[in-house]
């Protein structure tokens, strides 16, 4: 317990600094979120047209209400689990300023994580909660009853945290890879496109043809967006939820191990490069 307290004390300044920098760049941040959310509306209108053209009330077990909630919620989850500290880390490794992190008596991934936590706190209060409220009101108006389930919400929160940690370490690995390329920007666009697609942020994985779907659901990307969103929407049975969370944990352990391994390799390379 005292050890935990001590850790909290060491990393509290990072979280605070993260929160402050999120505040400082809030205008930029707000615009970024608006820009990224526009596509949700494109998707929403497409689905509306699809339901109108298809003449059926459900589509792969999703009603129009379901799909609307899915489109917006998955996009928010995408923001929550997104992490950019790793890209900046790749750049830091490249220009050597990573040394400034290495000389401090803190763990590098932990300092990045706690810094970003500040950012996420701001995001939860400024974006996630308002949008969630909006979606619940929308569901209430359409369905005529409160669809919110506190139990699902708690499991969802747990799943988002796991998804975020998974995304963090996955991105860390991407960051290390980008280190070997000059075109970090092109690489991160590529990464974004692949992640968006495989994580279910563009289209629910349930809509893919049977065999493809089965594969995609087992991949780590599904744990990022698809899993938490489906839990929130109550689309999974208790067994499925437990299985999903277990998958997230296993993938998380795998990625932590891989990133540790690469970090050790990268450190060696850093010594060679540093003059």
């Amino acid at each position: 317990m005292t050890k935990l307290k001590k850790i909290l004390k060491i990393y509290k300044p990072f979280t605070k600094a993260g929160l402050q920098s999120a505040m400082a760049y809030r205008t930029n941040f707000t615009f970024f979120v608006i820009g990224e959310s526009l596509y949700c509306f494109v998707l929403y209108f497409i689905w509306k047209a699809v339901f109108a053209s298809g003449g059926s009330n459900t589509f792969m077990g999703f009603s129009i209400t379901d799909i609307t909630v899915y489109v917006f919620l998955s996009n928010i989850v995408k923001f929550l689990i997104d992490t950019d500290s790793t890209v900046s880390m790749a750049e830091e490794i490249k220009d050597g300023s990573i040394i400034m992190r290495m000389i401090k008596p803190v763990n590098i991934d932990h300092s990045l994580l706690t810094f970003e936590l500040g950012n996420k706190i701001m995001m939860i209060f400024c974006i996630f909660l308002p949008v969630m409220l909006g979606l619940e009101i929308y569901r209430y108006v359409i369905l005529g009853k409160i669809a919110f389930n506190i139990f699902s919400f708690l499991l969802f929160s747990l799943s988002v945290v796991l998804g975020y940690l998974l995304s963090f370490y996955l991105n860390l690995i991407f960051g290390y890879l980008a280190f070997f390329l000059l075109n970090i920007w092109g690489f991160s666009i590529l990464k974004g496109a692949i992640l968006n697609f495989l994580s279910g942020a563009t289209i629910p994985l349930a809509f893919f043809p049977g065999a493809v779907r089965a594969v995609l659901e087992q991949l780590p990307f599904a744990s990022l967006v698809y899993a938490p969103t489906m839990i929130y929407m109550g689309k999974l049975s208790t067994n499925q939820i437990l299985f999903t969370l277990l998958k997230q944990i296993i993938w998380l352990i795998v990625f932590v191990l891989i990133s540790d391994f690469i970090w050790i390799k990268a450190q060696k390379r850093l010594e060679v490069q540093g003059g």
Partner: protein
């Protein structure tokens, strides 16, 4: 050649309180304040003159240079160079000037240097013959040959500065603005650059305006200096005059057997000095004393020190510009950056 009349430049700055609370507060209520970066400055420069433009960081040097080069429009006042107003007819005006900002480059990072010059040739519309001659001249003065085929990103800082100087002169400008052209360079390269600047000034009668923090730049290059502080012009004249006007200071740096020895000495009474004529800075390893040469000669000072302390090492230096600026405002002199 260059006329600057009552020029002012104001900027609007957002005022922020500190901390998370401050950030939240400024979310709802943004406060602005007007900063007078340049406040009513006037001076003239003649053709062929090299003018040193000095002042502490943030004094308004760069802002003034940027107004002279047409990058910024003055809030008030007039700038006229060669009969042209920089911000009006900017395209015509910039053909007559060359600009080097020491802290950033105007070269294309990924292009080989020689390609940068061919791009600039087209941009400034220099014809083939003139370009050939020009490159010969610049090559001679700045010795570009060794690295002209290399991409700019692979050049050393000194090479890059020489290349930047050449790039700013490809179109034979009448006026050259050099903003800290020797920043970050080592002594040999600095001398090299200074020689080149002198040569260009002498051979082509180019008017040069130079900002710098390095007193040696000023001493080797400038006939005249203009000094500004907090946006106001506080001196316009020769360097020698300025030293006289604001006290001709020298600095003795030494290491003693024991730094505390210096405390036993009494300069004020021994030499009948006033407090502002001398300041002593003591650390464990080093003692530095700056003093007014007009009140106390270097010989007397050295004699007194040698007699009364056990000196391991000693040197006498010029006081740098920052220190003179500080002194002019009666502030305590701190160790320079």
């Amino acid at each position: 050649m260059i006329k600057v009349e009552n020029v002012k430049k104001d900027f609007k700055k957002v005022v922020k309180d500190q901390g998370v609370k401050g950030s939240i507060k400024s979310l709802f209520n943004r406060k602005y304040e007007i900063v007078h970066a340049v406040d009513d400055i006037s001076f003239n420069v003649d053709k062929g003159e090299i003018l040193g433009f000095i002042g502490a960081n943030g004094a308004g040097k760069s802002t003034t240079i940027k107004m002279l080069t047409g990058i910024l429009t003055p809030t008030e006042g007039n700038v006229e160079i060669n009969g042209k107003i920089p911000t009006k007819n900017r395209k015509e005006y910039v053909k007559e000037i060359g600009v080097v900002f020491g802290q950033r480059t105007q070269l294309w990072w990924d292009l080989p240097l020689v390609e940068t010059f061919s791009v600039l040739k087209e941009i400034y519309n220099v014809d083939d013959d003139a370009f050939k001659k020009r490159m010969c001249f610049l090559n001679e003065v700045l010795e570009l040959d060794a690295f002209i085929k290399s991409p700019v990103r692979t050049l050393s800082l000194g090479q890059r500065m020489r290349a930047d100087l050449a790039a700013s002169m490809i179109h034979s400008p009448k006026v050259l603005f050099l903003d800290e052209p020797t920043i970050g360079l080592d002594v040999a390269v600095k001398n090299n650059i200074r020689q080149a600047i002198t040569q260009i000034n002498e051979q082509e009668d180019t008017t040069i305006i130079l900002t710098t923090h390095d007193l040696n730049d000023i001493e080797t290059l400038c006939q005249r200096i203009v000094m500004i502080d907090k946006g106001k012009l506080i001196y316009d004249g020769t360097l020698a005059n300025m030293k006289g006007q604001f006290g001709n200071f020298r600095e003795v740096n030494m290491s003693l057997e024991n730094s505390d020895e210096i405390d036993k000495l009494n300069f004020l009474d021994t030499f009948k000095l006033k407090k502002k004529d001398i300041s002593i800075n003591k650390t464990k390893e080093k003692v530095s004393i700056s003093f007014n040469q007009d009140k106390l000669s270097i010989a007397d000072m050295l004699e007194y020190l040698l007699k009364n302390t056990n000196i391991k090492d000693i040197s006498v230096n010029d006081v740098n510009i920052e220190e003179i600026v500080c002194r002019m405002y009666g502030k305590e002199v701190s160790v320079n950056d």
